[in-house]
Symmetry: C2
Subunit: 322 residues, 2 copies
Amino acid sequence: MRIVVLAGGIGGARFLRGLQKALGDDAPDTSITVIGNTGDDIHLFGLKVCPDLDTVMYTLGGGINEEQGWGRKDETFRVKEELAAYGVGPEWFGLGDRDFATHIVRTQMLGAGYPLSAVTEALCERWKPGVRLLPMSDDRIETHVAVDVDGERKAIHFQEYWVRMRASVPAQAVVPVGADQAKPAPGVLEAIAEADVVLFPPSNPVVSVGTILAVPGIREAIADAGVPVVGLSPIVGDAPVRGMADKVLAAVGVESNAAAVAEHYGSGLLDGWLVDTVDAGVVERVESAGIRCRAVPLMMTDLDATARMAREALDLAEEVRV
Amino acid sequence: MRIVVLAGGIGGARFLRGLQKALGDDAPDTSITVIGNTGDDIHLFGLKVCPDLDTVMYTLGGGINEEQGWGRKDETFRVKEELAAYGVGPEWFGLGDRDFATHIVRTQMLGAGYPLSAVTEALCERWKPGVRLLPMSDDRIETHVAVDVDGERKAIHFQEYWVRMRASVPAQAVVPVGADQAKPAPGVLEAIAEADVVLFPPSNPVVSVGTILAVPGIREAIADAGVPVVGLSPIVGDAPVRGMADKVLAAVGVESNAAAVAEHYGSGLLDGWLVDTVDAGVVERVESAGIRCRAVPLMMTDLDATARMAREALDLAEEVRV
């Protein structure tokens, strides 16, 4: 079975680890291709940083800081402290010494002419994540967020909105700058075309999965693949399980609840949708929108719970397979 | 008094500290301009590394690793270890985490379009070395060394010869690649023209001072300045005080002794020359070449000894001033 997963950062990475656990070690005929969001990539200190790709790579490769969900474990911050001593920021973005090495290697390879997909493959030779990790595109795409500050609207980088401002003001608009001119990275459309199932983890539907779908060709390829497409709600009750998805959902006119997110993806794209048991009341609403829906526990409290979620998603995929 | 010093790395930096000590804190009318060698600059991991400029900056700014004479004190090597884990080298060049920050800032500024002289000035705003530190040129110059390996002659970067090979094979030639097309950095010729004295510290006469003199215009400006030019021998007895100057002197056909180095600079450039007391026997030979010579202790064993050397150099400059 060939599984394609559209992944953002922490939520996507943790779901993938559960999926690997659900499939077990003896699944030689199963392959997972991850299409990773690059809209939150950012240039810092002249280096190319790909937070979502790295979170997937570090999480599946055993290098992640488990507590915070991003960055390297046993991390130190000597380089960042020195940069601050030079008066060079931003200080609000937590780049550790070990993490810096990844960005130095990536930037050097990009500078030598390798596309991001080749660089990601090279980095994964070390981490051996057990999945094929593809950036959604080799072209530069940057998610910008329009915010009103002191009565003035301005567009800022997603990381500035998310990390520096902690999404403390409403997002007026979310724009994946450059997406309209971008092409899917080599292998992306082929993986979708050859997939037996496509999964949307409980990642942010706007700035993670939504950005991937904004790359021309990807949404259409998934809709046309003729295989089950199943998603898991990142909203449980009226709030995101983690992160601040509600802040950016409002910007695209979507209510912050499990049914509204499913309707946002739409039955043209989505065949099945998992909501948490506390949201069992919306199952009927989702199904009336033409999307098969099940209510199951959706809290990724530990690896076993996450594996059960992944198993439920695969089961729902088989149920909707025609 | 305006003093111009041509400096390489460790020897030049330590001499400069002695010179500052010799001049004392209450020398408001004295300024030191350092023209630093950039021929040993190297691109590592996509970053621009300027070992000699940084050694001067760290030494005079209080950030140097005193024991080894280069690099930062209290240094760690997390980034380098991670780069090695990615299989990315070279491992033979010791870049520490704190040091990396300097190269990241420099590379980012160069990428933004600032010339090396402006970058160096910006870095010195933090370190406050108490001298005006100018790179010899904003243009890229790389000292290459021709060596015979397995019967084949090849040109390698100076750092590879010096650091990786520890100068273990004879240098057949030393070539400052790019020097013939380079221009002195802004301020270099002006500083020389306005100098009251020019000093050559006991730096390597081939790959440090020699490379600076290879930038078209600098040698001529010093020769034409009409002010005392005084040097200190880096060779004591038949051996370099530190480093492996003898290895590269042979490549330019110069014997490894204090008199031969003075003759190599020549009386057209040099007005005065200090040799160590153990080399008192060569004073007559140097003076017969038209260069005033004194034998004084030349071992930079501590700051006071180094300050006395600097004072001797300044005294000799006054003696030869016409």
